[in-house]
């Protein structure tokens, strides 16, 4: 099976290429990656991609359907919907990344401590996270917004708190499994400290499941942001967000249904794309699949 003369660094690169190949090799993986890439580009280069100023009001051309000038039509103030979606992507991804990042940081730290730190600490952290999970998210979010006001930082805090238990659970369970893995016990037998165990042996073996969870969580975060914005408790107009666009479109759904449809489109599309990306990523990162190629 192994070729002893193979140039060594090539084997490592080939390994990474293989993961990438498995990710892009399946139709769903390729399409999902493409769509996600399109969203990322739209977010990063919003001013270049968007055909109009997202906040430029044009009352004469308001509530127009899709046309050559306005691909997705205009809203009740005559603003170009495509441009607003593109800038909304920026908002959505910014909140998704910072929110997920914060949730990941907090959840992972707690998970590591619970998994490595002994029974009492573990029980306490499990209790804390289960309590958070038991809170109805929308009520919790509305309560926080009522107290601190609707703002982007408030949104990020809400997302971090509500998403952290997911990362906590995955990291803790994985650490508990790894605690008994032979290679961890082997490192202990060599005298490795807990810090070393966590940093050099646990973390690299946690990255796979965490990446998958991130990809799966991003649509959920986008959903939270859209949902809160729809309820008027998230991103405040005139800054565009998919959620507040949907909310505005909903008001005029009888006269101009294309507004609500256009606003719903990226929510649906991004949710599907990130979910499929997560699923193919999970398969592509499985080391046992790597053996067979």
């Amino acid at each position: 099976m192994t070729d002893q003369t193979a140039a060594a660094p090539r084997a490592v690169k080939a390994e990474r290429h293989a993961t990438l190949r498995r990710l892009l090799g399946t139709p769903t993986g390729a399409v999902a990656s493409l769509v996600v890439a399109a969203f990322v580009i739209a977010a990063l280069a919003a001013p270049l991609v968007a055909p109009y100023d997202p906040n430029a009001i044009d009352p004469i051309n308001r509530m127009q359907g899709p046309s050559a000038a306005h691909w997705l039509g205009t809203d009740q103030l005559g603003r170009d919907l495509l441009s607003r979606i593109v800038f909304g992507t920026r908002t959505a991804l910014y909140i998704a990344l910072t929110g997920t990042g914060a949730a990941l940081g907090v959840g992972m730290a707690m998970g590591m401590i619970a998994g490595l730190g002994g029974k009492i600490l573990d029980s306490a952290l499990v209790l804390l996270n289960d309590s958070i999970k038991s809170l109805p998210l929308v009520l919790f979010a509305l309560a926080l917004v009522t107290i601190y006001g609707a703002s982007v930082p408030a949104l990020i805090v809400i997302i971090a708190i509500s998403m952290a238990p997911g990362y906590f659970r995955v990291v803790r369970n994985q650490v508990l499994v790894l605690n008994n893995a032979d290679f961890i016990v082997a490192a202990q037998s060599m005298g490795a400290s807990r810090l070393r165990l966590a940093a050099t042996h646990m973390l690299p073996n946690l990255i796979g499941p965490i990446l998958v969870l991130i990809a799966m969580d991003i649509p959920a975060v986008i959903g939270i942001e859209s949902g809160l914005s729809f309820l008027g408790q998230g991103i405040q107009p005139p800054q565009s967000s998919w959620g507040n666009m949907l909310s505005e479109g909903y008001t005029y759904v009888r006269q101009a249904p294309h507004i609500a449809i256009a606003a719903g489109l990226p929510i649906v599309l991004s949710t599907i794309a990130f979910t499929f990306l997560g699923e193919t990523l999970r398969d592509a990162l499985d080391p046992r699949r790597a053996v067979r190629t």
Binding site: T2, M190, G191, R196, P204, V291
Partner: protein, 327 residues
């Protein structure tokens, strides 16, 4: 004679058992005692074989010797460091001069770490190594007959026999005095087994390392060990030079093990099942399966006693003239 390199004295290992509520309510036993009272020593430069069925506590004893089992009594001494509990500060020193090879070689290598990094990890942990880690990895891999380009591979890219060699290389990285080898031939086919055993023998001659060799395979043990200790239910029931174990076994359990090895037919090792660790038989713990068992065995547990110089056994009828043994 010089001092033994490893010495376990009246070692007791027990694991907590039962759920938290069970323990709070005082229901059931709080612990399972895997090793009730084990004393054992490995002489410098020698190989001691630890033989027993699965569940006999041989792996636990191996793990306890490097501080990976909950020690609740007795002590482990390696060199001049003596540890009396699982979290004793002495383990740091002991682990620097002792290393362990695990039963499942592939699983004992970090799947996300290159073999070169794995092999040199003991050096990184011990600290104070300022040479080139790549060169050292190549040197260690060379020691076990693997080419340097293995350093850049991952565990899933190599065969079981190669993984075993890598773990040998890692075990020898710090030039230890003692290597605890847990079933080092498990899962290898016969030719690879032979190669590995020759390699271990050769390295022992060259480096003077001692081995605690844990196995259930008597044929393997016969080839590589100087002495053999037979374990049953967490106790050593017989210990003697390897030749004596095979030529003049005194404990009925040892005889059964050797008999089973020589018997050509299939079938179980000996009659009956191994008793539960939580419900050890009264008196001699082997009497439930022993062909020689008498009332004395039920009434009184036999002590491990010296039958001949360097030969101990725990059986009331050991060391007696023949006749009793073949009744």
């Amino acid at each position: 004679m010089t001092q033994p390199i490893l010495e376990a004295r009246n070692l007791r290992v027990r694991y907590p058992s039962g759920t938290l509520t069970d323990r709070l309510l005082g229901r059931g036993p709080r612990h399972v005692t895997v090793l009730p009272d084990v004393s054992l020593s490995v002489e410098a430069g020698q190989t001691l074989g630890l033989i027993g069925e699965s569940g006999s506590g041989k792996t636990t004893l191996g793990r306890a010797a490097i501080g990976l089992a909950p020690i609740s009594g007795g002590s482990i001494r390696v060199g001049d460091a003596t540890a009396t509990s699982e979290d004793a500060p002495e383990w740091a020193g002991i682990r620097r001069r002792t290393s362990m090879m695990f039963q499942d070689a592939v699983a004992s290598l970090d799947p996300r770490m290159t073999l070169g990094t794995s092999v040199t990890e003991p050096l990184a942990i011990a600290g104070g190594f300022d040479g080139n880690r790549r060169d050292k990895a190549a040197e260690l891999l060379g020691l076990v007959g693997l080419s340097p380009d293995f350093a850049d591979r991952y565990p899933h890219q190599i065969s079981g026999g190669q993984a075993r060699r890598v773990t040998v290389a890692r075990a020898l990285a710090l030039e230890p005095d003692l290597v605890i080898a847990d079933e080092p031939t498990a899962g290898l086919d016969l030719s690879v087994q032979g190669e590995l055993l020759n390699l271990l023998g050769e390295l022992q001659n060259r480096l003077g390392v001692s081995f605690l060799f844990i196995t259930h395979n008597l044929s393997v043990a016969r080839h590589v060990t100087n002495r053999i200790a037979i374990m049953y239910l967490g106790r050593i029931v017989e210990e003697a030079p390897t030749r004596t174990i095979f030529s003049a076994p005194e404990h009925p359990y040892t005889r059964a093990l050797i008999g089973a090895r020589e018997a050509t037919g299939g079938g179980g090792l000996i009659e009956g099942d191994v008793p539960s660790l939580t419900r050890r038989p009264e008196g001699c713990e082997f009497r439930t399966r022993c062909p020689l068992a008498t009332d004395l065995c039920a009434a009184k547990a036999p002590a491990l006693r010296e039958i001949a110089p360097g030969h101990t056994a725990s059986c009331h009828y050991a060391g007696q003239p023949a006749g009793v043994s073949h009744s």
